[in-house]
């Protein structure tokens, strides 16, 4: 900010930034470099910073050791379904709560809002019993349906939609557009930034989901990637090159998501801290 002092501060700022960047990236670097080491160089003292020789075998071996392709597809399917559900239901509910007047609206909003921070850790026992009663353990329904909509998504969409002028919707009504058409063709295109932020945020959370699949999945064919990785860790605990290879593959989609949708990725998080 203060221009005259900027050069002087640069001496502290840039080394500090380098340290911060280093701390942020170290586990990534270590994961990838160790996935390329051999079992002999893995525990070298002092540790090898650059793997020598480079050994790609671990990727293939780990992938074949368990049905990771299946886990990967399961995780993708579950994450995509949950994301689609949150986008659709969250935007519908947000639209309803921001642009329609009806009895009980404020109360219903508060009801939904109050679930925002109700953690799964509190409700996991009864939620498991409910899902069990529905006969959903070891099914995709059990993995997906309870998470199709979250208070956060409704809240985010409602806040964003409040910024969209009512006149726009009124004008479309006067032109004779049906309510569904107004939602789909007029309101939603205006919500793209919010939808993108919510979509990326939800996808990340769903990809990361661990405690719930751990509770309701016992069948191998339904395991998600986080389950597969933790299982692999407990059964092949010493094959660190393979473990790191699996970890790297499990991280890759998130890294790609971050690099291609960086703005939405960060906005989704920034919004969790905004009140308006």
């Amino acid at each position: 900010m203060a221009r005259p002092t900027r050069h002087r501060q640069g001496w502290i700022t840039y080394p500090l930034l380098l340290v911060v960047a280093g701390i942020g990236l170290l586990p990534y670097y270590w994961m990838v470099s160790c996935s390329l080491k051999t079992n002999a160089t893995m525990f070298a003292v002092p540790p090898q910073w650059i793997p020598d020789p480079i050994n790609w075998r671990a990727y293939g071996e780990a992938w074949r050791a368990q049905d990771f392709t299946r886990y990967f597809l399961n995780t993708g399917l579950v994450a995509i379904a949950i994301t689609a559900g949150n986008l659709l239901l969250g935007s519908l509910a947000g639209y309803s709560l921001s642009k329609f007047r009806y009895f009980g609206r404020g109360f219903l909003f508060l009801l939904i809002l109050s679930t925002m921070m109700l953690p799964l850790e509190v409700t996991m026992v009864p939620l498991f019993l409910i899902v069990k009663k529905l006969n959903w353990p070891n099914t995709y329904e059990g993995l997906i349906v309870p998470f199709l909509v979250e208070g956060f998504g409704v809240f985010l969409m409602r806040q964003y939609l409040q910024g969209i002028p009512n006149e726009l919707i009124e004008a479309a009504r006067i032109d004779g557009a049906s309510e569904l058409r107004i939602y789909a063709q007029i309101v939603m295109p205006l919500c793209k930034p919010a939808l993108a932020a919510l979509g990326v945020f939800t996808f990340r959370e769903a990809w990361d989901m661990y405690i719930w699949p751990l509770i309701i999945v016992t069948k191998d064919s339904l395991r998600t990637l986080p389950l597969g990785i933790s299982l692999f860790m407990s059964s092949f605990g010493t094959a660190w090159d393979q473990l790191m290879a699996v970890a790297a593959i499990g991280t890759l989609p998130m890294v790609l998501l971050f690099f291609f949708l960086q703005r939405s990725f960060i906005q989704g998080i920034a919004i969790t801290g905004l009140k308006e």
Binding site: V20, F100, V145, V154, M233, L243, G273
Partner: protein, 331 residues
């Protein structure tokens, strides 16, 4: 057979109306009287129709939230009053679960571990995330690159995070190597009951700091530049500007970050489960992990639900705080 019957029925009806002319008229009157009502159903006035549409599109969300959020919450209280092992039917035992828990050294230890985790991971996160946000709010070269690098911990999935750090915390691992550069002796991170919790706390800090940094950055960017310019004209030092402009104007954001980070820290689960399973000697058995193990390893559903009620009470205090913060932003 059937056509003949139908014809017969039609004939009977026809004859009925022929013989009772008053009835046909009465039916006609009745039908025409219904018309405005029917019309009303199909052509509701615009406001009511819109309200109905509003309800309709909210319905799926409400259904899911009620069945999968509120019902479990209510059930948690119900189950907490029972002894239930998933096999025999639940047996009502009153408050015995709660009484037992308060005398159970394992539960009290678990609560202590959770509190220690929350306190010692959150306080550094507040300071570091605000510091980083201030740093990244300056004009710096290659800002995007540095910011992305600093943000990367948020990108890593929790399970991968636990796996990679387990390896890094190894006796001859990279963490101890780096500490060695500064003359610090190797630390038996995950194998020692004094260090294991600190190992997990460090990961929590590593992962949470960039998350709240982003929230602080959004808050900082909302502060008008003119304030700083005016302060500089008055000769305020950078620290003075921070103390008297940044901190007061960032207060709502700061409060929010405090509340959010505490709630998130209360829920930590994957990292301790994978890295230590709660050990060594219960030193990392945080409450969510203990709830999970009680319910799904020892199948004591009632006891686990009672623990959830305690966790719920703790989270609720902070949730109410947060809703109040959100609500204040509403008006």
């Amino acid at each position: 057979m059937r056509p003949a019957n139908n014809a017969g029925l039609a004939r009977i009806i026809h004859e009925f109306f022929l013989n009772n002319p008053g009835w046909e008229k009465r039916l006609r009157v009745l039908a025409s009287a219904q018309q405005p009502l029917l019309r009303k159903w199909f052509r509701l006035d615009v406001g009511a129709k819109q309200a109905l549409f509003g309800y309709a599109i909210l319905l799926p969300t409400l259904a899911i939230i009620l069945v999968f959020r509120f019902l479990p919450m209510v059930q948690a209280f119900y189950i907490s009053l029972h002894e239930y092992d998933l096999i025999r039917p639940p047996k009502f035992i009153g408050l015995a679960n709660f009484v037992d828990l308060l005398q159970d050294p394992l539960f009290l230890n678990s609560a202590r571990v959770s509190i220690a985790y929350v306190v010692f991971s959150c306080v550094p996160v507040w300071v570091l995330s605000l510091g980083l946000a201030v740093l990244f709010n300056r004009e710096i070269r290659a800002k995007n690159l540095f910011r992305s690098a600093a943000f990367m911990p948020v990108v890593m999935p929790a399970v991968v995070n636990a796996l990679v750090w387990t390896f890094m915390y190894h006796q001859d691992g990279v963490v101890n190597t780096i500490l060695g550069w500064f003359g610090i002796d190797p630390i038996p991170w995950l194998r020692s009951s004094t260090w294991a919790l600190w190992a997990i706390i460090l990961i929590g800090i590593w992962r949470a700091t960039p998350y709240y940094m982003v929230i602080f950055l959004a808050g900082l960017q909302a502060i008008p530049h003119e304030y700083y310019e005016a302060a500089q004209i008055d000769g305020a030092s950078p620290w003075g500007q921070f103390r008297h402009i940044t901190l007061p104007l960032l207060k709502p954001t700061t409060l929010l970050v405090m509340v959010m980070s505490v709630i998130v820290a209360m829920k930590v689960f994957a990292v301790p489960l994978i890295m230590t399973g709660g050990g060594p000697v219960d030193s990392t058995r945080v409450l969510p992990l203990f709830i999970y193990q009680t319910a799904f390893e020892f199948f004591k559903m009632g006891r686990a639900a009672a623990m959830s009620v305690f966790l719920f009470a703790a989270v609720m205090v902070f949730t109410l705080l947060q809703i109040r913060l959100f609500a204040r932003g509403e008006d």
